[in-house]
């Protein structure tokens, strides 16, 4: 096959967005500097998350012929497969084992099949599961079930982090429940056990459809030798009690006895090679046209100071195929930009904020979501929303009922959605634009984004006035100085608990992304979504007119 000199590239026959970017403006340059700083912080957090154990632990593992969790994932993936790592900073800023917890999870290709891979980091805290790691497991399971992805678990965990058992025990059960529900849904669960998998952990291979045990590595039992000794007085070594050979030859808990780690991964790949392909195999008609404008511009366009607006079309122009965008109702309700585009060849509908939501923009959004359902296009929500407009005029205009229509449409839409936090995400705006509670299939944040009931200034201001009123009612003099201190504290507290780092630590998103990678994130996720048939909603709640 010869490569023609000029590649035919595909892009929808929409008009391309004309950028008005001023690359030499002070604001543009200042934004780049501020955003690069944030990206530096992101890189620092990610390197912390990539930590897989102290050098001596890694050396000991290597001496035993063991790979690290990330090495296992690389070995499992197809050569040159992409890999979307999810929730890499879960638990960041919390009191657990640090960002990412003790697991690595994501989506990639194994023997040509899109699968979810979940790997315990056995070299970090013995792979013990802290609260964030558990939450991460629950969210990864949710993603795998919603997107119908088979799961390959790379198991090596000493089980729940016992000091945290109270927070972990109850919800921990969900992880085993999900394995069997996935199985019932026709999605394979493949467990590769490399090391310890004790007590509750024993149920991961125990519940899985396929269990591969590494000889001399896997140790799977409900209770280890010391506990058995305590319970029954029986003296037994761990290999006889739950070794790979025993489970493969006697108990039958293991289906495949692997000679070593690579052999186990080879077997997992062999199993994956026999799994059915997803029903819908629409792949974007590669090659596709790149955007007309470089992704690097995004760092100059996005202002980390959320009070400074940016034109959503400039962002869209740097994400969609050929920068081509078919805008819907451009002249009506202009604070909500709606339109159709392709990303990686996949058709999508996009809703992006260009200011506060008015009644017109809410109606327009509700209309557009119905169109996407009718067309069976996934919907992308690009959030930069401080909320719905307030004031007498707007209340009289019924902004509540119009906003309700948008939330109704978002809630009952059945085509998959992906949300990106690109700035502010405050109040009911978060809900109307498919925030976490509205279950978009994927949700990612830009590093400067914020999520809260309202902005820090507004929230602290409201709190201050409430307290002043309360003091007045009770006839107590209000200490303005104390009030100001209180206000500063509130601002700091809200700022801290609304920023992207806090959000991602709380698993309010599936990861913080470098804005320049938006197109790649989205085309990856769209490929996952398009692998399954999608159908538009056949009904909504009552739209109040």
């Amino acid at each position: 096959m010869n490569t023609p000199l000029a590649q035919q590239v595909s892009a929808p026959p929409y008009r391309a967005i004309q950028s008005r970017v001023q690359r030499k403006s002070a604001a543009f340059l200042a934004n780049i500097e501020a955003n690069l700083q944030l990206l530096g912080k992101l890189e620092a957090a990610l390197s912390e998350a990539r930590f897989e154990g102290k050098p001596q632990h890694l050396a000991r593992a290597r001496d035993k012929g063991k790979l690290t969790a990330r090495e296992r994932i690389e070995a499992l993936l197809d050569a040159h497969s992409p890999f979307l790592e999810l929730l890499p900073l879960a638990g960041m800023g919390g009191d657990g084992f640090g960002p990412g917890g003790t697991s690595v999870g994501g989506i990639g290709l194994v023997s040509g099949r899109m699968v979810m891979i979940i790997a315990n980091v056995g070299t970090r805290k013995g792979g013990a599961v802290d609260y964030a790691t558990l939450q991460k497991a629950i969210r990864l399971n949710e993603i795998s079930i919603e997107n119908k992805l088979p799961v390959i678990s790379l198991v090596e965990s000493s089980g729940a982090n016992l000091p945290e058992q109270a927070r972990i025990f109850n919800y921990g059960g969900a992880t085993f429940r999900d394995i069997t529900r996935r199985s019932k849904a026709g999605l394979a669960n493949i467990a590769v056990v490399f090391g310890n998998s004790t007590a509750g952990g024993a149920y991961v291979p125990g519940m899985s459809d396929y269990a591969i045990f590494v000889d001399q590595g896997a140790k799977v039992f409900l209770a280890g030798p010391p506990l058995v000794k305590m319970a029954t007085g029986e003296d037994v070594d761990d290999e006889s009690l739950g070794g790979a050979a025993m489970h493969s030859r006697i108990s039958g808990v293991s289906d495949y006895l692997a000679a070593d780690e690579l052999d186990a991964i080879r077997i997992a790949r062999e199993i994956a090679a026999g799994l059915p392909h997803p029903p819908a195999t629409y792949t974007g008609s590669a090659p596709v046209a790149d955007p007309l404008y470089p992704a690097d511009d995004l760092l100059g366009l996005l202002s980390p100071d959320l009070r400074k607006p940016f034109d959503m079309r400039e962002i869209i122009a740097r994400i969609v195929d050929g920068s081509r965008f078919s805008e819907f109702k451009a002249e009506y309700g202009p604070t909500l930009v709606c339109g159709f585009a392709n990303i990686g060849g996949y058709p999508v509908g996009i809703l992006g904020n260009n200011g506060v939501l008015f009644s017109e923009s809410a109606n327009k959004g509700a209309h557009f979501i119905q169109l996407c359902n009718q067309r069976q296009h996934p919907i992308l929500f690009f959030q930069n929303i401080t909320g719905f407009m307030v004031g007498q005029e707007y209340e009289e205009g019924g902004i509540i009922k119009h906003g309700a229509k948008l939330i109704n449409a978002v809630s009952n839409s059945t085509v998959p959605a992906i949300t990106i936090m690109m700035g502010a995400s405050y109040g009911a705006g978060n809900y109307a634009m498919a925030g976490r509670a509205y279950q978009p299939r994927f949700l990612f944040s830009y590093p400067h984004s914020r999520t809260a009931v309202m902005g820090p200034d507004q929230l602290s201001g409201v709190m201050l006035s409430i307290q002043r009123e309360a003091a007045q009612k009770m006839g107590i003099p209000f200490d303005e100085e104390q009030g100001e201190k209180m206000r500063d504290y509130m601002i700091k507290e809200v700022e801290k608990k609304s920023d992207a780092w806090y959000s991602t630590g709380q698993l309010w998103d599936d990861g913080i992304m470098d804005p320049r990678q938006s197109r790649h994130y989205l085309s990856f996720c769209l490929e996952v979504l398009y692998a399954q048939p999608m159908s538009g909603s056949s009904g909504y709640g009552v739209f109040r007119m």
Partner: protein, 680 residues
């Protein structure tokens, strides 16, 4: 010019070519030019061979084994009759020097394209040949060629002749059944080996002894005669560069022959032709000593492999002359008008492993492309997809060049070799390339054992650091391309995209048995749709090298390394072995290590494996026997050569896994030797 009017001219209408490979293809070409219908023959193994495709029609003559096909005189003559042929050309090898066959052809009423059977018979026996030559004043090598073949007599005669001494098969040729003996102690084993080989190769174990000269040159003269009694010589060919007694480079004119010596040798050759009333193509072979004295070696009563060299410098078509002579025509060759025009040379391309003693190799020819240019002629018996088997001689093609002078011809040959695409079985392309680059070879300063003294020419690929890096980068680029092509998902994403950057990518390669690692980063925002990507080698951060895939596919790609852009050719087989034609370097064989090595495939220590498909011709040890390092364990016979398997360590034969006469595949275990663990 003698013309005998009673010899009738019988124009040949259909010619059966009782041969295969390049020579059959080459004869077909002349047939086509002369308007003669060509009829190929083929065995079971050659149904799809090139010579079958090239001929106007083809006749099946039997199973793969040569005895039942290409050596099966009856089947061949029947095929000729059935196909309506009126003549048979035997080519070289096989039945070409079998007087009995020539007679049978004539008795069947067919025309024999070759010398008359008596000449073949007389020259077929070395002893008789020597006697006739001696009688006609052709200098011969001192030796013994008596009928008494007892060890005692042979040893006595050997001592008279002196050492070094050559023991060879009386019926032999081409190095088979030939052993050099340097002192008395080596004599007895040499007699045994030579007899065994002679019997296997020629069905005749009679031996002759000859004085052996070190550092001689091999110079031969092409002779040609017709049935009317005319004979000429068509000058010399020098074929001193040989490996395992087989010629590898042939050239004309010889770089050392003076006009005076040429005339003396030419006269001797003509004497030989006249002594035999020679009436077709033949070759008189001599050894030439440093003092310009020469001795008769033998007469080959057939067309030689290296005949194109003579064709290139004389402008004659020797096959056409053979046919015309066989038809009874007068050869209008005036010795006074014959001239050596310019310079020609030939190299033989073999499927073999120069690095392990030129052992024959086999396999599918995955990629084959011949350079086409002025002055380059390639006589090939193969095409892309041909399978080089173990049943026949592993020569694939001959590269012949012509130029005004020797240096120009060497330049042209080097160009041809660098541009020849021959990827598949192990072969001697690199070796030939080394040969034409070698200073002494270029100066013509060599002798028949030159290659034994220059093992570095046959050593495996030894790239310098830069070439090696370029190789790894090209391979890795290709791998990325191949992997991306097979990826059904995420085709619009960059290769190996990670939302969270990880360590640099790595690819492992095994080059000439050495494991090598390339760490690289994909630099540009390439995608599967745009197979254009860059690698950054991190091995040498001082001089990072970028490689760019400029287009092509997994078989042939244009790759830019730094500023230079060149074409690379690749051929990968199922087993992950990739042959690479690296620009400016030659052919490299690289193994892509399996990502997941099979742990059940353990190395079995102490086993002796067949290095090639072969027949076990002798088992020299028995179970339980203790053997010294270097002791001969068994003898394999393959591709008309004997290979002795020797013990690499002291040990005890635990079990014999094969027996005499058994056919074994390459890699088959032959015996197990228990090595005693020495207490240390």
């Amino acid at each position: 010019m003698i013309v005998q009017p009673d010899i009738p001219i019988r124009p040949i209408q259909g010619l059966l070519i009782a041969n295969r490979g390049e020579i059959a293809v080459r004869i077909t070409r002349t047939c086509r030019e002369m308007g003669i219908r060509s009829i190929a023959v083929f065995s079971d193994a050659d149904r799809d061979a090139l010579h079958v495709h090239c001929a106007d029609m083809a006749m099946h003559i039997g199973p793969a084994a040569v005895k039942e096909s290409y050596l099966n005189a009856e089947a061949i003559i029947n095929a000729a009759i059935q196909s309506g042929a009126d003549a048979i050309h035997p080519g070289y090898g096989f039945l070409s020097e079998n007087a009995g066959f020539a007679r049978a052809v004539l008795e069947a009423g067919l025309i024999w394209v070759g010398p008359h059977p008596e000449a073949i018979e007389q020259m077929g026996s070395k002893a008789q040949a020597k006697r006739i030559m001696e009688e006609h004043g052709v200098p011969v090598i001192p030796g013994y060629n008596g009928d008494d073949q007892s060890d005692a007599v042979l040893i006595k005669e050997a001592l008279c002749i002196g050492f070094p001494l050559l023991v060879k098969a009386s019926a032999g040729g081409g190095g088979k059944g030939m052993v050099i003996v340097r002192d008395e102690s080596g004599l007895a084993p040499a007699l045994g080996q030579a007899r065994r080989e002679a019997l296997a190769a020629f069905g005749d174990e009679r031996l002759i002894l000859e004085r052996y000269f070190e550092r001689v040159r091999h110079v031969e003269f092409q002779i040609f005669g017709d049935q009317h009694g005319n004979a000429v010589h068509l000058f010399e060919r020098e074929c001193s560069l040989q490996r395992r007694y087989q010629k590898i480079l042939e050239e004309s004119p010889s770089p050392v022959l003076t006009q005076d010596t040429r005339e003396r040798m030419g006269q001797a050759a003509l004497n030989a032709a006249r002594a035999l009333a020679y009436d077709n193509a033949g070759t008189v072979e001599f050894i030439l000593l440093q003092d310009a004295s020469f001795y008769f070696l033998e007469v080959n009563t057939r067309l030689q492999v290296e005949h194109p060299v003579t064709e290139m410098i004389t402008g004659l078509d020797l096959v056409r002359l053979q046919i015309q002579s066989a038809e009874g025509r007068v050869l209008e060759l005036d010795p006074r008008s014959l001239k050596q025009n310019g310079y020609a040379m030939e190299l033989r391309l073999y499927a073999e492993d120069p690095a392990s003693g030129f052992l024959p190799a086999s396999g599918e020819l995955l990629r084959w492309d011949m350079p086409r240019a002025e002055g380059i002629r390639i006589d090939s018996g193969v095409q892309q997809g041909s399978v080089i088997g173990t049943d026949y001689d592993p020569m694939m093609a001959k590269l012949i060049v012509w130029a005004n002078d020797r240096p120009e011809a060497f330049r042209r040959m080097r160009y041809a070799l660098e541009n020849l695409v021959c990827l598949g079985p192990l072969n001697n392309q690199n070796f030939l390339l080394n040969l034409v680059k070698q200073e002494q070879v270029k100066q013509g300063e060599y002798h028949t054992h030159f290659l034994d003294e220059h093992p570095e020419l046959s050593a495996e690929y030894h790239p310098n650091a830069e070439e090696q890096q370029a190789l790894l980068m090209a391979l890795s680029l290709r791998q990325v391309f191949v992997d991306r092509q097979s990826q059904q998902h995420f085709r619009s994403l960059p290769t190996s995209w990670r939302n969270i950057p990880g360590p640099a990518s790595e690819l492992r390669w095994s080059v000439a048995g050495k494991e090598m690692l390339l760490r690289y980063r994909l630099l540009s925002d390439e995608t599967a749709a745009h197979p254009c990507l860059e690698l950054l080698s991190e091995e040498d951060s001082q001089r990072p090298l970028k490689a760019r895939w400029s287009g092509g596919d997994e078989n042939k790609a244009r790759i830019q390394m730094g500023a230079s852009l060149a074409s690379w050719v690749f051929a990968e087989s199922q087993d992950g072995l990739i042959r690479v034609l690296q620009p400016g370097v030659g052919v490299v064989r690289v193994l892509r290590p399996e990502r997941f090595p099979d742990p059940s495939k353990e190395q079995t220590g102490g086993d002796y494996l067949a290095p090639m498909p072969a027949e076990v011709s002798a088992v020299l040890v028995s179970e339980g026997q203790r053997v010294e390092p270097g002791a001969a364990l068994l003898v394999l016979y393959s591709m008309k050569m004997e290979h002795t398997i020797v013990a690499v360590q002291e040990g005890i034969v635990r079990s014999l896994l094969v027996q005499t006469g058994e056919r074994v595949e390459a890699g088959a275990a032959l015996l197990e030797l228990e090595h005693e663990i020495s207490a240390s």
